[in-house]
Symmetry: C2
């Protein structure tokens, strides 16, 4: 196990949430999503994105339509289904809960390390 791998693990699941968020804004196709994720510093490659979109579609949270492009092959433009909107809301709640839990853990560690390593004189 190395740091890169651990970082990948940490991003799992978050990716799904971010992609649903991006699609919730309106019709987009895969390259749009890659651009948006990249600009938010979330690096994703095609081999990750396409299977993920297929899974989300098969779960009933996304739908898509083919749209002709004026400069290349046709594109799949994705939209959220009503079920997908419900799912996104649930994911967002989970995200906030998770971030809160992590914040709790970090905060407790900081409290304890301040107690342990303080250079200030003992109040007594």
């Amino acid at each position: 196990m190395n740091i890169e791998n651990a970082q990948v693990q940490m991003r799992k699941g978050i990716l799904e949430f971010c992609i649903l968020h991006i699609i919730s804004r309106g019709e987009v196709y895969a390259s749009d999503m890659l651009d948006e994720l990249t600009s938010a510093q979330i690096m994703v490659v095609e081999g990750t994105l396409y299977p993920l979109l297929t899974r989300l579609k098969n779960s009933g949270w996304l739908d898509y339509k083919w749209v002709e492009s004026s400069s290349g092959p046709p594109r799949k433009y994705y939209v959220l289904t009503n079920e997908g909107k419900v799912f996104l809301d649930a994911m967002q709640a989970t995200w906030f809960e998770l971030a809160q839990s992590v914040q709790t853990i970090i905060h407790r560690t900081e409290e304890l390390s301040n107690t342990d390593s303080t250079i200030l004189p003992d109040p007594n």
Copy 2:
């Protein structure tokens, strides 16, 4: 794919980070960790925790010693190695970057949905 599964996915990787954090505070054994995680609303079961501790140990980030208990079988008390401290710092940086990225995504969605669905009259 269902919501429970997606929530599990979202927690992957975070767990590792939280466990390292807890161990960084001082010597603890598995039940201590489970209590701490539970109180931070992060539900973990033994079947997840023990293999994870073994992996972290094999990666050189943790060390442990057996300690006799006055009320049951001996316990493995874990501590962070120096390498583990470096790794924890890297994980914490990754966490903050990731949280920032997600915040960026959420914020952009909110901006766009305000623009799209505003009931206010057009400023023009």
